[in-house]
Symmetry: C2
Subunit: 736 residues, 2 copies
């Protein structure tokens, strides 16, 4: 039987409970310079902390498996996914584990393994030219088809060497340093000058690997080039990357999925700098940007700790990822931010670093099993003025939070989606109005080698794959990454100071030429109105020319009720020709009920009811669509959408919607509570920059008024139905 | 704000942890005759068992809510779902709770509530004629449109009265008995003679209600009629129902969803009989059929305790249903069957009966949190010879069991499906090859009042909605319930004695005229072959005339790989015209790869990989279909199917398939293990009644041989590739 196991993540963390504590003799490295010191090792040896004990026991059992096989260092021939590629990745991971394990619990066999691995690589490396599968337009490596893997390899190898060099002979050390470590560092920083000096996470891996190598080998030039760039002028290198890759709020524009990957070399190299160049004060740099980078990443999660799948993202990735374990440990060690401890406790695993032990020991019986996710605005842009993400969360501390994410951050480079002002909604940890994420089955070979699928570009990145407005069936910024990168959306106003009423107003004037898009998301918590919080979604389009306008709401769940007329087409009908429309089959086409100014759509997901109540007019068309058209390989996930269209060519329109969670089907008790929306008679009018929304709940009429003005004026007055209505601050919700 | 709360289940159970134990004064009923005695009440009062304390505290908090509202007894005018209907149901539930609560923790207010409720109903009942919404062909009631609800009402009312009568004045008792309880019993047993004497669960509710009324009022005639039927000859009544509604193995032919509902009046009335007529020895009757009825019901669950959704069933219904809590408590009290305790422990709630306390007290620290589900055959039919269900389970004690259900039980009356010899597969508690269940959104008013949807008859009950073989696109037994009820399938052989190899062979000769259908399901656990257990599915069709033959595999999940060619139709294509085929859209039509004798289909569900490897020939057509065609109201749930068709008119064919769970995608580690099927070169030949299946795993070839003979011969010999192969018992699997 031949089975293939593909490993991608290599940090050592542990979740497995073991039976007994190892007895060890002391022979730990006393001169290690990177992330795990002699005192850290002693802590691992002598700890009575359950998480620490688990970590060492888990390491020991992993190493036991590793040592069952002999060391094989294959000739580099295969591209990603192939044998030699995966084996080299496996090797550095094994080397790293065994090196740490040798310090905690030394055996002759472990040291022999480490030496054999290092001398084997030292013997091979000088013989290698560029990898045979290297590509012309992609930075190549020697051990791998791409240089990125080479940097990651040195990142781990140098840590392994740091832990074991003092147990080697002078001759072994000379060989390893001369034939392997220095050549790798030279390859990464000199031969691959461009990547090393790039403001990009690939550059971060390079500078981290080379810089840490300099620290272990005592090479100040290497260290300086890594921190300040090859020219040592600070224009490139680690600090420049720290300055430019994170926004002022610690947001990483590619989104949390890549943020999670990039955080590791940032945090690890910073820790090494702190240990070796404390004068740099790296953790204080840019007002503690590394702390923000970690806490912002943690906040970009739903109630289950899964990262919001914005931009190209694999769903179901959680903060239990090894990179995040590593990052939270070091961030805690450096900043003593107690808000990190519940996360570390819930992860129930640590990295094998000094920081890991410190974090584990900081957890007490009083540490909560709950991570607080308050509402917050996360600014994008180095100066914090390039749009951002509004995270609006209902103010409860128990499970069952309603979360809305309004995204108007920068494009996010090649992994970005054309989804400015897009909304996603989560409730009780479930995706209610989902972001599709990426079209990719990661690491599943039969799905085009696990790479991004063609449908990622033809569907997932397009505007229509999101809850966003699309004009004339064209994606924002003409679907052009470069063009989109040049422009930013703006925050108009944001007020989350009041639990009852929270609002964010954002705008974009460049996504469609001559058109101002503006979306305001208001989350309302008022138990007099409804038993659950709800969202008012106002989307204004103001254009100099006429357009067809679509507002799309992707949803998961069963359609339970529609307060509009619809028919299901007898023949296969695709929503459009391109820009992702070509992937949507029309399941139903509807129109508002005669003489009704509202339409309503109710669905059931995870036994909970959700309704979207919309202001519609005689012209409105309503569609229910489903992914799967023009999908010859079944690459798209099943996803349905509720789409509200104003088909006539119009210049100005406001989409007015209430998104409302409201009920529960209990399959055990077979009871249904609150299966119907509470809202009726939704209406909207504009008075200049004021939005006036009214709706009824039962017999009561409510009036929501919002100022879209940018100015600082806090007192507002309008006239409504002949009555004067005044309020302070951005908005007001009153019973009439 | 007007919200509607619909209650359907009313037994009192509890899961809510509370803070402190109530202090009570003793004034409990010492003369109660039904399910909760004076000593039981004392146990509830004085228990230090956490589950018991929770139960009483939960009751107290429920009653507190009940007592906040005044008693309202509306004129019966509405049909099911309407106000008066739901209010009367709510009333008996409230009455039952408050009556028990008064005994445990008496207050003036509780007794006043009970008296007001009883005297209110006693004042109204004599004034009532038949309910205005009663239907001509359906047994009607006075308080409700149907008589069934009336029986359920008396079932609870008489228990409430049993607990509180001694706290009433003679005058009150006389009025309640004369104007309410006796008239209800008379209405149910005399006016509704037919239902009372029906061998049907509606009859069971009637006899239970009337019989318990007789016990409380001291009316032996009522008791006798309930136990032995109106004529007291045993031809009808409770014992006749016990004899005919359960198979010899305690299987209820409508399936577990209705079994769960019916078990309550059976077990409750039996307990009352045991308390009042111990000479009947009801729990010993028919070799302890009530014990089998309870344990069989519990075994008909997946790893999460959800009932297999065979026949008309609402999915997600679990054994935590109040009826099952009630039934397991009484079954434990009567039979002291320790296998019930883990279930009761995992439920973490009890019924408010003597049995509830006894069950709670029987749970110890040694009671496991694991309910063992071994493989078993459950015979249908009073004599146990009318087919049945084969439950095949992999032999592991930890989580992650593979379960196969081969169904060839009797039709199951109006709620039955035409799915003889159908298969469903569960793995790790997930539905892998699902049974569709019922087309119904229970209690969701907007879905046709929560009733069965038209698509239940046009799709869900049809053969094609199952993993079954369909000839000529017609359902089994011509889709005629009466015709199907007249015929049974047969068990040919069953051997679950060997963990490595388990097999069931079943046959049906009447589903299609002149055609013998035979399916054998073999579950194989052999870690030398594969890391997970797998299933060999052999389906023989032998007919006197030619047919198109379809074997259908419904599945949930993403399509990951297909080892066959397919195209996706450009235009909307529906699989067929009727018999459920009209609801299936063709997503892809395929054919085997040229010169290949196998086709393979791999899907990913809940991050696990599953493959179906099939013997196919040049003629085979392969379809991927999806529900949703001709579904004007979006009533059907999304469900995909993989269908293997032999399109030419043939008389004999064997469908040969291996169903294999094999791998895992870990989204946190981003690792993939075992993404590919291990099987290749699957082939099959028949030698008389012997099936010979060979397949390769890696370089090894395996031979599986099975005797389909009905005789008792245990030694078999065949010649394969010129070699003589012998085995003992039904089957053998060897490495060649």
């Amino acid at each position: 039987m031949l089975h293939r196991i593909i490993f991608l993540a290599f940090l050592i963390t542990t979740t497995i409970a073991c039976k007994q504590k190892q007895t060890t003799v002391d022979s730990s490295s006393s001169s290690s310079k990177l992330l795990l010191s002699a005192s850290g090792i002693n802590s691992f040896k002598n700890s009575d902390n359950a998480i620490v004990i688990h970590a060492t026991e888990d390491l020991e059992s992993q190493v036991k498996e590793i040592l069952k096989e002999s060391v094989i260092i294959p000739q580099p021939v295969d591209a990603g996914g192939g044998y030699s590629h995966e084996k080299h990745k496996r090797n550095y991971s094994d080397l790293y584990r065994v090196a740490i394990s040798y310090n905690v619990n030394p055996t002759v066999q472990k040291l022999a393994f480490v030496k054999e691995m290092f001398t084997g690589y030292a013997a091979m490396y000088p013989t290698l030219g560029m990898h045979p599968k290297a590509k012309e337009n992609h930075p190549g490596g020697k051990l791998y088809w791409q240089g990125l893997n080479e940097a990651v390899t040195l990142f781990y190898m140098i840590q392994a060497y740091d832990m074991t060099r003092e147990f080697m002979t002078d001759e072994e050390r000379t060989k390893i340093e001369t034939d392997l470590l220095r050549p790798m560092a030279t390859f990464l920083s000199v031969d691959s000058y461009d990547v090393f000096n790039k403001i990009h996470n690939h550059g971060t891996w390079s500078v981290a690997a080379v810089g840490m190598t300099g620290m272990v080998l005592g090479d100040d030039d290497m260290i300086d080039r890594s921190i300040y760039g090859s020219n040592k002028d600070g224009e490139t290198g680690f600090i420049a990357q720290l300055d430019h890759l994170f926004s002022s709020d610690g947001f990483y524009s590619e989104g949390p999925y890549y943020h999670r990957y990039a955080i590791l070399p940032f945090i690890a190299f910073a820790e090494a700098i702190e240990n070796n160049r404390p004068d740099v004060k790296i953790f204080e740099h840019r007002d503690g940007i590394l702390r923000k980078a970690v806490t912002t990443l943690l906040q970009l999660t739903d109630e289950q700790g899964r990262f919001y799948p914005i931009n190209d993202a694999i769903k179901s990735k959680t903060w239990e990822s090894d990179e995040v374990v590593f990052a939270t440990n070091i961030a805690y060690k450096q900043y003593k931010d107690a808000s990190l401890l519940p996360v570390i406790k819930m992860m129930n695993k640590i990295s094998l670093t000094d920081a890991g032990v410190i974090a584990a020991n900081a957890i007490t019986d009083n540490t909560e099993d709950f991570y607080e996710r308050p509402s917050m605005f996360i600014a994008d842009g180095v100066e914090g003025n390039s749009g951002g993400l509004s995270l609006m969360r209902s103010p409860q501390k128990t499970a069952g939070q309603l979360q809305a994410v309004l995204k108007f951050s920068t494009q996010g480079m090649g992994h970005g989606h054309f989804d400015r002002l897009s909304l996603s909604v989560y409730d009780h940890g479930n995706e209610i109005i989902p972001d599709y994420g990426a079209a990719r089955f990661l690491n599943i070979e039969t799905k085009r080698g696990g790479r991004y699928l063609p449908e990622n570009k033809t569907y997932a990145q397009h505007t229509i794959a999101h809850s966003a407005v699309v004009l004339d069936e064209k994606s924002q910024y003409k679907g052009n990454v470069k063009y989109s990168e040049e422009h930013v959306s703006q925050l108009v106003k944001n007020d989350m100071s009041n639990d009852r009423l929270q609002v964010t107003v954002a705008t974009d004037t460049m996504a469609y030429k001559g058109t101002k898009l503006s979306r305001s998301i208001t989350m309302i918590n008022d138990s007099d109105i409804s038993n659950r919080p709800f969202i008012i979604d106002l989307y204004h389009v103001d254009s100099s020319t006429g357009h067809q306008m679509d507002l799309n709401y992707p949803f998961f769940g069963d359609i339970i009720d529609t307060q509009f007329d619809y028919t299901r087409p007898a023949n296969k009908t695709v929503l459009g020709k391109d820009n992702g429309y070509n992937h949507l089959e029309v399941l139903a086409k509807g129109s508002p009920l005669a003489n009704h100014t509202n339409s309503q759509f109710t669905f059931l997901q995870a036994q909970r009811f959700y309704s979207i109540t919309s202001v519609t007019n005689f012209d409105t068309e309503l569609y229910i669509t489903q992914t799967g058209a023009n999908d010859p390989e079944f690459n798209l996930n099943l996803q349905r959408q509720y789409l509200i269209r104003q088909p006539s060519s119009i210049k100005n329109h406001t989409f007015v919607n209430i998104i409302e969670p409201h009920g529960f089907f209990n399959p055990i008790q077979e009871t249904v509570t609150f299966p119907k929306s509470v809202f009726s008679d939704l209406s909207h009018e504009k008075q200049g920059d004021y939005d006036i929304v009214s709706f009824k709940v039962g017999e009561e009429t409510y009036l929501y008024t919002l100022s879209q003005k940018r100015d600082q004026q806090t007192n507002h007055t309008i006239t409504y139905n002949g009555k004067s209505i005044s309020w302070d601050g951005p908005h007001q919700l009153i019973k009439l």
